[in-house]
Amino acid sequence: MRTRQALNAGIVVFPGSNCEHDVALALNSVNVTTQFVWHQSCSLDGLDLVVLPGGFAHGDYLRPGAIARFSPIMKALVDFIDNGGVVLGICNGFQILTEAGLLPGALCKNKGLKFLCQNTKVRVCSNISPFTANLPIGTELDLPINHFSGNYICDTDTLNELESHGQIVLKYVANPNGSLHDIAGITNLDGNVMGLMPHPERACDELCSITDGMVLLNSLVHSLDS
């Protein structure tokens, strides 16, 4: 069994990422050591967790995540995932994971065509992956969202698979962006890759007025520890 102090997270930084320091602070506060990994790096060796943070990787040009998918680090990320490594994509990180085909579906422009920047309630719908393994189904979390393209879309077959395999981890209590089935966060089939639009790292300090992000990160860290 690992000790908590041994957990080491890599935070991938693309040109245009802007949440990497928030993620580092949040993870440090749950005793995870962090290091930034530039997108042109080709190695993720020695890491227990990799986070793709929010922001506007490569300016979001063409589509959010479309160019980031071709960064050299992505090949290492695929290998990391294939070897069972745990990856968390937050907001733009979620968009990158879908563009890279590492999570199913796609994220379109918000239904109301507004950039949404607000706190929003999400509900835990599955706890079979390490991300929410320690949270009872039905747990509600107050988390900030901050996006223009968070409207999750996939075809009916994919949606049925997501539902039947417990891959829909978080749903919005009051859908803010038109997302299919109120989806706020999903995992891959193996459960070691998660993407979510809300920003848990921005809800980890009393100064932010909400701290439910800590609940989610603590759950993940606890799973990785055991």
Partner: protein
């Protein structure tokens, strides 16, 4: 040979198009009642070097699938391909 190309990237039929809807809703107030069914996509111009039009189109097909469009939500059409 060098070909000048114009590619349209558009949302797949049936997917929400809030930009198109917003423009369509503004039209009556501007006096354009006769304009309907607005959709918004992207137009991308580029040049491609190839030995033939067939080879150019093969390159463009791959480019569209791998980069210019997300096939889950978008489709593409080469609107113009002219030897230059």
């Amino acid at each position: 040979m060098r070909f000048a190309v114009l590619i349209e990237v558009r949302l797949r039929e049936g997917l929400p198009d809030p930009q198109g809807n917003t423009i369509a809703q503004a039209l009556p107030a501007l006096g354009f009642q006769q304009v309907t069914k607005v959709t918004v996509g992207k137009a991308i111009r580029l040049f491609v070097d190839a030995d033939s039009e067939t080879q150019a189109r093969a390159t463009l097909n791959r480019l569209c699938l791998e980069l210019l469009a997300n096939p889950i939500i978008e489709e593409t059409e080469v609107l113009s391909l002219v030897a230059s």
